[in-house]
Amino acid sequence: MATHEFAAHASHAHEAPQGFIRKYIFSLDHKIIGLQYYFLALTAVFVGMFLSLLMRIHLIWPTAALPFLGEIKPETYLSLLTMHGTIMVFFVLTTAPQGGFGNYFLPIQIGAPDMAFPVLNMLSFWTTFLGFIVLLAAFFVTGGAPLHGWTGYAPLSALQSAGPGEGLGADLWITSIAIFCIGALMGALNFITTTLDMRAKGMTMMRMPLTVWAWFITAILGLLAFGVLLSAGILLLMDRNLGTSFFVPLVTVNGQLTGHKGGSPLLWQHLFWFFGHPEVYIAILPAMGLCSQLLSVFSRKPIFGYKAMVYAMLAIGFLGFMVWGHHMFMSGMSPYTAFAFSIMTMGIGVPSAIKTFNWLGTIWRGRIRFTSPMLFAIGFVSLFVTGGISGPFLAQPVLDIYLHETYFVIAHFHLIMGVASIFGIFAATYYWFPKMFGRMMNEPLAKLHFWITFVGAYAIFMPMHYYGMGAGLRRYSQSTEVAYIHNLLPLQKFITYAAFVTLAGQLIFLVNLFWSMAKGQKAVDNPWEATTLEWTTATPPPHDNFGGQTPVVHNGPYEYNVPGAPRDYVMQSDPAVTAAH
């Protein structure tokens, strides 16, 4: 892919807006839009955490009367888990790393003045925002939020009579996801075009920071995956409201015929997981790219195996579309297909292992600076290994017979998709905060936040493996009915206590974030002595990112401790170094 002259896309430039609304609300500036995405995700993550806290309380004190909310009923518990999952997956893990940091830093890191399509960018944010409002509305309608889980398996999700929350609440839930998909598709298109078309002179594909590679590959995954989910959502809405039967066979609920016949419940699962599995990588790839970068910056050493990292991410993205069936080993799908899905899934472990080795290789023989972003990046590696290692158990159908739908699965995907990605978001926040707000975050508070979160995440999710080994099942609002599950209750108690402490620790982050915006120590342009283009420009960057300058790139993204160089880092825009090999 040839690089373009900067002048060739001068038409993308737009004047700096005047007035509060054009500048901060309906802004076309990718930096403002990035911050809008970030604060949307921040709001969403605290809502999602609050829901999980209510769930944890209900699990160990099922009859407790809570202030304002009263006693949580079994169906309310299921609504909480549905909304927790949906909010976290869509409005946090997909929104912050890609919409937030990707929007803010992708154009700057490739030396572009903005995204390729600024208006589309603004539309994609406001579409996402609308999706969030519609989702929250489900809490306030008759019957409340749906109880069918974030996976929305039909026919439970398709029949109004299947349970409380399956009326208007479920319609709002599907509508919200469909709206989100439209926003995500617009965003993906923008990211791909920007990466391919807007790179500064000298910024070849193989000189792109790994963060840019990660956002780029994530956008391709999003473009292919969200279209499928959007279609599936529309079909489900039709089943619910127009009398079609895509997903519903002839069924009776409480002895009453529903009028549907001929549909396939498995079709929904195929469509959902064709989106759902790539979604895991949409959530984790940006964190992988970022943490790779941070390990290099703070070890003062080039990335170990840059090309291998790029190829591994491409392989993960490619294989990610061929493994959806591993969610369906017990679904009634032909047992022969399990062979293919299983071997593909085990195959995806290979590029994941390559990345882990290269992360260890990057800090090996480096000189580590234990800043807060680095601590979160190291924590990310540890959590990625722990969350990843349970994957091969679930990927083998014969072990999945026992583990499917147990807390072992909950432990697995929360560690790797949830906590590891969240560590990426925290690392990104601590790393880029100075560039975004012109001030440093409070470092002792940041470190305290790291220790509580790191130990707390393990304390919450490691025992879930044991609960799963004891066949403790997910989506059970109470453990009182099944004797063997009741015996596992001490583990649930421990997890709830750990959750209290860990979630309280997140308030430290919140305080630090807002306090530092107003009162943090002023930041210099390149506080971490890093090499990528965002550190060459002013803090915070001007409207067109480089103040009328056009950056020209001469070096790879991770040139640290180059022999013969005057200082221990060579920026991408510095004159070319020759020691590269």
Binding site: L156, F357, I368, S382, Y466, V482
Partner: protein, 268 residues
């Protein structure tokens, strides 16, 4: 900071591993013929993946301590990596993962690629919000016709399944609220659902299969221990999901025959 981080990572790793090794919370005592093979593969997987887990975490701990700023290793190596190492660990992990997969695939194949044996006991298992019903075909070996329009969930038993009394094959069908099966004889399960997806899970049998409306899924297992074993629904099916449980009662062939005969007699 590097030392503290190493100690914390090591402690988390060792404590986590301890509870797996001590089996403080573990699979229930196996009660089916397939369980031994599955449990063995669990053990193999735990040894292999456990080794990788411990090695990777301990290495991470050592590296962050040894290469801390101000530590003994002061000079940074300027290196972009090593192609030979990349190839070595790519091949090693590929062999490990594909090897594990092949080992487990033969167990899966032996369970799920063949039909039940000819002398298997046939039990139709039907899930509905929020109960399990078990039907036996009776002496004629044939299940009677069921019709959705005849279903009456509140009446329970045969009426809940919508059994058509006009069909001659339905005359001797037995419907039970618990699943009684003989020991050491294969059980063919025919899984159905009336409403939403349920999942028939018997942890002690290492047996799980979704019951999907519109499908009749045939699966089999062979109980090798007598006693009562819990069934739990393993697919979210609505507000009563957590209480949709049941019992598999494994008895001797004699007791099974007597039980079935008694239920037949009740019907007459």
């Amino acid at each position: 900071m590097g030392l503290v981080l190493m100690i914390v990572i090591w402690l988390i790793t060792l404590v986590s591993t301890y509870f797996f090794l001590a089996k403080t919370w573990w699979l229930p005592v196996p009660a089916s013929a397939a369980a031994a093979g599955i449990d063995h593969h669990f053990a193999v997987s735990f040894v292999l993946m456990g080794t990788v887990f411990v090695a990777a975490q301990l290495a991470l701990g050592v590296l962050v301590w040894k290469y801390r700023e101000g530590g003994s290793a002061s000079k940074v190596a300027y290196s972009h990596g090593n192609a030979t190492l990349e190839v070595v660990w790519t091949v090693l992990t590929a062999v490990l993962f594909v090897g594990m997969n092949l080992m487990s695939s033969s167990i899966w194949a032996s369970e799920r690629f063949r039909a039940a044996e000819a002398n298997a006991v046939h039990v139709e298992v039907t899930g509905m919000q929020f109960a399990w019903y078990f039907r036996y075909p009776g002496p004629d070996g044939k299940f009677g016709v069921t019709k959705p329009e005849l279903e009456d969930a509140s009446a329970g038993g045969e009426a809940a399944l919508g059994l058509d009394p006009k069909d001659p094959a339905s005359k001797d069908d037995v419907v039970s609220g618990i699943m009684v099966v003989p020991v050491n004889r294969e059980v063919e399960v025919i899984l159905r659902s009336h409403d939403v997806i349920h999942s028939f899970f018997v942890p002690a049998m290492r047996f799980k299969q979704d019951a999907v409306p519109g499908l009749a899924i045939h699966m089999h297992f062979t109980p090798i221990e007598t006693g009562d074993f819990e069934i739990a629904c393993a697919e979210l099916c609505g507000l009563g999901h957590y209480k949709m449980h049941g019992i598999v009662r494994v008895v001797s062939q004699d007791e099974f025959d007597k039980w079935l005969a008694a239920r037949e007699a009740e019907k007459q």
